[in-house]
Symmetry: C2
Subunit: 480 residues, 2 copies
C-alpha cells in the first residue's frame, strides 16, 4: 500500500471540502444568522489539515487499485468527519455521533436525519446540510477524477471503483473528460431544476437546497414536512421529473445532449426502470385511490411521487406511506432494494443488476433443460460476461447477507423487527425513511449511538457498492 | 414430453400410496376408532386410479430429464391430493383446501398444520398424518429409485433431480443400490429412535409418530403441545440427537456404518452445521438463561432443542420462542433459511450452499484484488466448478425473490408483515412454525384459502429445490 498517495489525495479532498464550506456563508449572512462563524472555523480546520496532507506527502508513482479502494472509502469517512464540524461548532448538533451520522447521511446521499425539528436550524447550516448531498451525489471522487491527473495520479482504477453500477460506458477515452462531461450534465440539470422550482414560488434558498436533494437522490429537506410542506402539484411534478432524471444513467443524458434521442428507447435498463415506476404506481395507486385519497389526480400524484422517491432512493415525502396498506409498504420496501439505474446518483442494487438477475434465473432453467448448451445472458446485443454475471450474483448475496446481519444487530439493541428492517433497508440503499419507528414522518434521533454508527457504516457500504468497502476488511488486502 | 412414462410412474406411486394407507389401520383398530373405514376407502380409490395409470400406460423407452422433473413435481402433487382422502372421508378435515394443505405439509416434511386441536383426532388418522412425513422424508421418489428399473425406466436423472443439495455423493455406481442403502440407513435410525423413545415412556404409537416427524425433519406431533407435552429431558435429548442425525448428509451415516469414522470430522459441511448449532445455542442461550429460565440446564435444553428443531427444519417445539428476545427470533429466522445438510431430509437452502456462498463472497474480493488471477472456490480438496457456483448463487437469488414475492402476496390478503414473513420462511424452508400469528403455539387455520394454496406451493418449491418446480413454468420446457 502506497500510503503517501492516499494521504495526499485525502488532503486534496479536504481542501476541496474547505472551499465548499464557504458556499453557505452568503445565505447565512443574507438571513442574518450567526452560523457563518462555525462554517468559517470548519473551513479553516479542513484547510489546515488538508494543506498538511497535500503538501507534506509528495508522490509521483502511479496509483494501483489498492490505493483506489482506500481513497474512495477513507475519502468518504474523512469528508464526513470534517464535514460534521459545522454542525458541532454551531451547536446545532452537539453530539459527535449524531453529527457524523447526519453528515454521512448527506455525503452518501441517504437523507436520514437525527434532527427532530429541521426548521429551527440557521440557514447556513441548512444549506451546508443539503450541499453535502450535492457534493456526495455525483461523487466528490468522480468530480476529483477531472483533477487527479493534476496530482500526477492516474485515476482510471478509481473510476472503476467509484462509478455506480456494473457497467461504466466509456463516454470518452480519457477519464478526465468523462468526469468533466458528467459533471457538466449534473450542473445543467441542477440549474434547470432550481429555476423551475423558483418559478413554482420557492425562494432561491429552498429551490437550491431541494435541487441538491433531488439531483443527488438524497432527500434532505429544509422543511419538517419534506416536499409535502409546499403543498403544490407543480412542485411535486417538477421534483418527480428530476428524481427520475437523477435516477437515470448519466451517460444516457449525455447521449441526449448529443442529439441521440433513441438512446433512451434502446436502453433496456431505462425501460425496465420506467416500467417499474409505472407498475408500482399502478398497483399501489389502486389501493391509495380506494382507501386514502378522494380523487384520481391526488392518488396518482401522491403515489407516483412516493414510488419515484423510493425507487430513485431520494426519500422525499409528500405523504405518509405508513398509512397505506401493508402490501403497498412491502412493494416500496422491494423498490428500495432495486434502486436507481447504473451510472445514476441513485442507490440500491441498481435496476440493471435486478434486470440481469431475472435473466440469470431464466438462464439457469435453460441450462437445466439443455445441460450441454452454452447459455449466455444477453442485454440487448450485449452478451454479459460470466465474470460480470457472478459478480452481480455475488453483489446480491452480499447485500442480502449484510441486510440480514444488520437487522440482527439492531434487534440486539432492543429495536423491533420491522423498524430494524426499515433502518437497514433505508441505510444500505441510501434512501432515508424506512418503516415503523423510522417511517417518513419520523427520524433517527431515538436510536442508540451504536445503531447510528452501524447505520452510517451501512450507508457507506451501500453508496460504494459494497465490495469497495468490505475489501478493506479482507486480510489479503493489507498483506504483501 | 413422454406422457406415458410420467403417467405410468405416477400410477406406480399411487399403488405404493395405497399400500401405505393400510399401515395405520392396526392402530385404528387397537384404539377402537372407526377411522379405518376412511383409510380403507382411500386406499381403494388410490389403488383403482393407480392400477389404471400403471397398467394402462406401458412404455419401455428411456426416461429423459424432462420426464424426471415432471414426475418429481406431479408425483408430490398427486400424492398430496390422494393422500388427503383419509382426512376428507373421515370428516376430520372437511375442507379440500385444508386437507390438501395438511397433506402437502406432511409429504413435504414441513409440519405446518391447520388443525386447532390435534388430540381429538382418531389414531388411524393421526398415524397417517405422521406417516406422510416419513414417506416424504426420504422421498417417495428416492425410495422408488430402487424400484424404477423394475418398470423398465432408468432413474439416474430422477435421482439427480431429487436428492436434496448440490452434491450427490455417489455411494455405489448403480442408483438402485444407492437408494436401497439410503433407505436402509433411514430404517435403522427409525427403529433405533422408536425404541429409545419407548424406553423414555412413550407408547409405541407416540414413539413411532414422533420418530416419523423426527427422521423426516417434519414436525407433526400427536400432541397439541408438540414434544413439550411429554415434559421429559430424556425425550428432548433423544429427539435432539435424532434431529441432528436426520439433518446430516445420509452418505456420511453410510460411511460411519462402513467403519469410516473420520468421515464426519473431514466433512466441512457437517462441521459448519455443528458449529452453527453450537453458536446459535450459545448466543440465544445467554439471553434465555438471563430472561426466561431459572437454571442453565433448562436454558440449554430448551434453547438447544429449538435451535436444532429450526436449523434441521423439523419444527418440533418444547418452548414458545416468541416469548424470547426479538434478536433470538431473528437468529432462528436466519437458521430457517440455512436448513440442514445436503443429502439429509432437512429443508432450507442447505448448510453446504450457505458455506459455499460465504467462500464465494470472499473469492469475489480476491478477484477484485487480483484481477488477473484464476480464483477457485474450494471445499476441502474439492474445487467447486464454476457452473455449480453460479447454480448455488442462482438458487440463493431465486429463494430470496420467491420469499419476497410470497410475502408481498400474503400482505395483499391483509396479513401483517411479520406473520407473512414467518409463513413464507416456514413454508419454503419446510419448517412448520413461523412468526407472530403462525408462531409455535399457533396454527395456519385462520389463513384465507388463497394463502393456504400459496403456502402449499412454496412447500413443494422448497422441498424440490426450487428449480425442479419452476422449470415447469418455463415455456421452453413445454416446447418441442
Amino acid at each position: 500500500m502506497n500510503y503517501k498517495i492516499v494521504i495526499r489525495v485525502l488532503g486534496f479532498l479536504l481542501l476541496f471540502l474547505s472551499a465548499s464550506m464557504l458556499l453557505p456563508i452568503p445565505f447565512s449572512l443574507y438571513y442574518g444568522d450567526s452560523d457563518y462563524i462555525a462554517l468559517l472555523i470548519s473551513a479553516g480546520i479542513s484547510f489546515l489539515f488538508g494543506s498538511i496532507a497535500f503538501i507534506g506527502f509528495q508522490e509521483k508513482r502511479d496509483m494501483r487499485p489498492k490505493e483506489g479502494f482506500a481513497i474512495v472509502t477513507f475519502g468518504w469517512i474523512v469528508l464526513s468527519a470534517f464535514g460534521s464540524l459545522p454542525f458541532l461548532l454551531s451547536g446545532t448538533i452537539p453530539s459527535v455521533t449524531d453529527a457524523f451520522f447526519e453528515t454521512m447521511s448527506g455525503f452518501s446521499t441517504t437523507g436520514s436525519t437525527i434532527l427532530t425539528d429541521i426548521e429551527i436550524l440557521p440557514h447556513g447550516i441548512l444549506f451546508w446540510r443539503s450541499l453535502t448531498h450535492w457534493i456526495g451525489g455525483m461523487g466528490i471522487i468522480v468530480l476529483s477524477i477531472a483533477i487527479l491527473p493534476f496530482l500526477g495520479v492516474g485515476g482510471m482504477q478509481l473510476f472503476k471503483a467509484e462509478v455506480p453500477g456494473p457497467i461504466a460506458d466509456k463516454l470518452k477515452p480519457r477519464v478526465t473528460e468523462t468526469a468533466k462531461i458528467l459533471w457538466g450534465v449534473y450542473l445543467i440539470f441542477t440549474i434547470a431544476e432550481t429555476i423551475l422550482l423558483m418559478l413554482g414560488g420557492m425562494t432561491l434558498f429552498d429551490a437550491l437546497t431541494h435541487t441538491f436533494g433531488t439531483m443527488a437522490t438524497g432527500g434532505f429537506s429544509t422543511k419538517n414536512g419534506s416536499v409535502g410542506s409546499f403543498n403544490s402539484a407543480y412542485i411535486d411534478y417538477v421534483i418527480i421529473v428530476f428524481m427520475i432524471i437523477a435516477g437515470t444513467n448519466f451517460s444516457l443524458h449525455y447521449s441526449l445532449f448529443r442529439g441521440k434521442f433513441k438512446a433512451f428507447h434502446k436502453n433496456q435498463e431505462f425501460r425496465f426502470f420506467i416500467f417499474l415506476i409505472i407498475a408500482g404506481t399502478f398497483v399501489i395507486g389502486i389501493d391509495t385511490y380506494m382507501n386514502d385519497y378522494s380523487t384520481i389526480a391526488e392518488a396518482v400524484r401522491k403515489t407516483l411521487f412516493q414510488v419515484v422517491a423510493i425507487i430513485t432512493t431520494t426519500g422525499y415525502g409528500t405523504a405518509d406511506y405508513e398509512q397505506w396498506a401493508v402490501s403497498s409498504q412491502v412493494i416500496l420496501f422491494m423498490l428500495m432494494f432495486i434502486g436507481g439505474c447504473a451510472g445514476s446518483t441513485g442507490g440500491g442494487m441498481k435496476v440493471m443488476r435486478v434486470f440481469v438477475l431475472f435473466k440469470f434465473i431464466y438462464s439457469e432453467i435453460v441450462r437445466l433443460l439443455h445441460p450441454q448448451a452454452v447459455v449466455r445472458v444477453r442485454i440487448g446485443s450485449y452478451s454479459i460476461d460470466r465474470k460480470v454475471m457472478t459478480n452481480i450474483a455475488g453483489f446480491f448475496v452480499a447485500v442480502t447477507l449484510l441486510s440480514a446481519f444488520g437487522t440482527l444487530a439492531l434487534t440486539f439493541m432492543g429495536i423491533d423487527l420491522v423498524t430494524s428492517l426499515g433502518c437497514v433497508a433505508a441505510s444500505i440503499n441510501n434512501i432515508g425513511p424506512g418503516l415503523n419507528l423510522v417511517g417518513p414522518t419520523d427520524n433517527y434521533a431515538f436510536l442508540p449511538d451504536a445503531a447510528k454508527w452501524l447505520l452510517a457504516f451501512l450507508m457507506i457500504i451501500g453508496r460504494l457498492e459494497v465490495f469497495t468497502v468490505i475489501i478493506l476488511f479482507s486480510p489479503s488486502y493489507w498483506h504483501k
